[in-house]
Amino acid sequence: MSAMKLTLHIWRQRHANDTGTFETHVVDANEHMSFLEMLDVLNQTLIEQKKEPVAFEHDCREGICGACSMVINGRPHGPLGGTTACQLHMRHFQNGDHIWVEPFRAKAFPVIRDLVVDRGSFDRIIQAGGFVSVNTGAAVDGNTIPIEKDLASQSMDAAACIGCGACVAACPNGSAMLFTAAKASHLGLLPQGEVENARRVQAMVHQHDKEGFGRCSNTYACEAECPKEISVSNIARLNRWYLKSSLTSNV
């Protein structure tokens, strides 16, 4: 187990209206730690020194919840493609490295404290239309509704989105189109969700714009930085559905 000494330049901001600044700390880590475990070590030291630990979000620590939002060396969730910060291991860094850690930056993701941003705007996009209105009750029998395999796969790929917000953090326009498109595709591709497609698509896109996210200009930074490798073909699908529902539906 080889030990590493790292210099962290880490963003400290006490509250939303604080200007914030980088703070430098040297951390003793090893290559088997995840990035968050390395931050735990830093926080333990800070606590022992009676200093305020660095606030960062985390939950599952296995790459499925989307909580661990942070930008590492200018890249949302760090330098490794298809990986969340919690699944990024220190073996991808070198002993002696300087690492810059800062919060996601987007107008619609205001910083709450240190590395923690408020991603409530995502919740409100989902509340606007990211659901299927069905009565709850006993689960329907499997295979009652036949679903073509290719559609099921495309929907499943879109459903891999964990709502982490890296797409927004990466986007030079602060747009959340990849997230919105993934959620709309996941539901709208399946027969159960297709019924409400026009209303859903209109509502989600309008909420997206209302939250202050930017307009997609197809830079494709989102796809490159998405830890779940969600494809921008979902955005094209959302554009298609949006255009169609604008022209042909009553909503």
Binding site: H9, F22, V71, N73, G74, R75, P76, G81, W100, E102, F104, R105, A106, K107, A108, F109, A170, C171, P172, N173, G174, S175, G212, F213, G214, R215, C216, S217, N218, T219, Y220, A221, C222, E223, A224, E225, V232, S233, I235, A236, R237, L238, N239, R240, W241, Y242, L243
Partner: protein, 222 residues
């Protein structure tokens, strides 16, 4: 944005192929007759008005989009660079402003002179009844200036970079993507951008560095 962009893309095909007549070795005959046709034909006049409107709409929407998006972005990262986005995709508005500035100069030089002044000499050609303005000579004289040739090359390069991103972007915006034909669109975008801009670049270069014979200007009849 995408619709006006596609209209401009189609316009450039016509504009570039028509203007290739500047390379004809006939002292400007075919180009001048073509230019007269383009400025007089009522159908072309209607299309032109659509074109001016499209350029303005496209430019205004583009700038508004870029300004709004700049606000939506919370700020830059202190260190390092996000993956994926090409330089062109992040600088569409800057490239657009360069193209627009170039267009103003370009139109003041030729279009205004042809349409709104009578500074151009009239020429008549055998087999063509009416006298036409000798815009060919104006172009030829203009392209003797090295600085203007340089400005054209810069303008055309900016256009090429704008189109490399813009061509495929227009299809993505309209939702016209599919794994079967998107690779073809991307390839076509590159071929189109390079061909259009190479075509436009040849014109000033050809007049600045004429081939062995001197370009004949002002030949009254042929």
């Amino acid at each position: 944005m995408s619709l006006t962009g596609i209209f401009l893309i189609l316009f450039l095909i016509v504009h570039m192929s028509g203007n290739l007549q500047l390379l004809a070795d006939d002292g400007g005959r075919s180009f001048n007759i073509y230019a007269a046709f383009m400025s007089e034909n009522p159908f072309i006049r209607v299309i032109s008005i659509g074109l001016y409107a499209s350029i303005l709409l496209h430019a205004i929407q583009g700038i508004a989009l870029a300004l709004a998006n700049r606000k939506a972005k919370g700020g830059k990262y202190a260190h390092g660079k996000v993956a994926g986005a090409t330089w062109a995709s992040k600088n569409m508005a800057l490239l657009g402003i360069l193209i627009f500035a170039f267009l103003c100069l370009h139109m003041a030089d030729f279009w205004v002179k042809m349409r709104f002044t009578d500074t151009l000499t009239m020429v008549t050609y055998a087999g063509h009844d009416e006298a036409v303005q000798d815009i060919y000579s104006r172009v030829n004289v203009a392209f003797q200036e090295l600085w203007l040739v340089a400005v054209y090359l810069i303008g055309v390069t900016a256009l090429c970079i704008h189109l490399v991103h813009g061509f495929q972007s227009a299809f993505q915006t309209l939702g016209l993507t599919h794994k079967k034909y998107t690779p073809l669109i991307n390839a076509l975008g590159w071929i189109y951008s390079i061909a259009i801009c190479a075509g436009f670049a040849i014109m000033p270069l050809y007049h600045y560095f004429p081939p062995s014979y001197p370009p004949t200007t002002n030949s009254a009849s042929m």
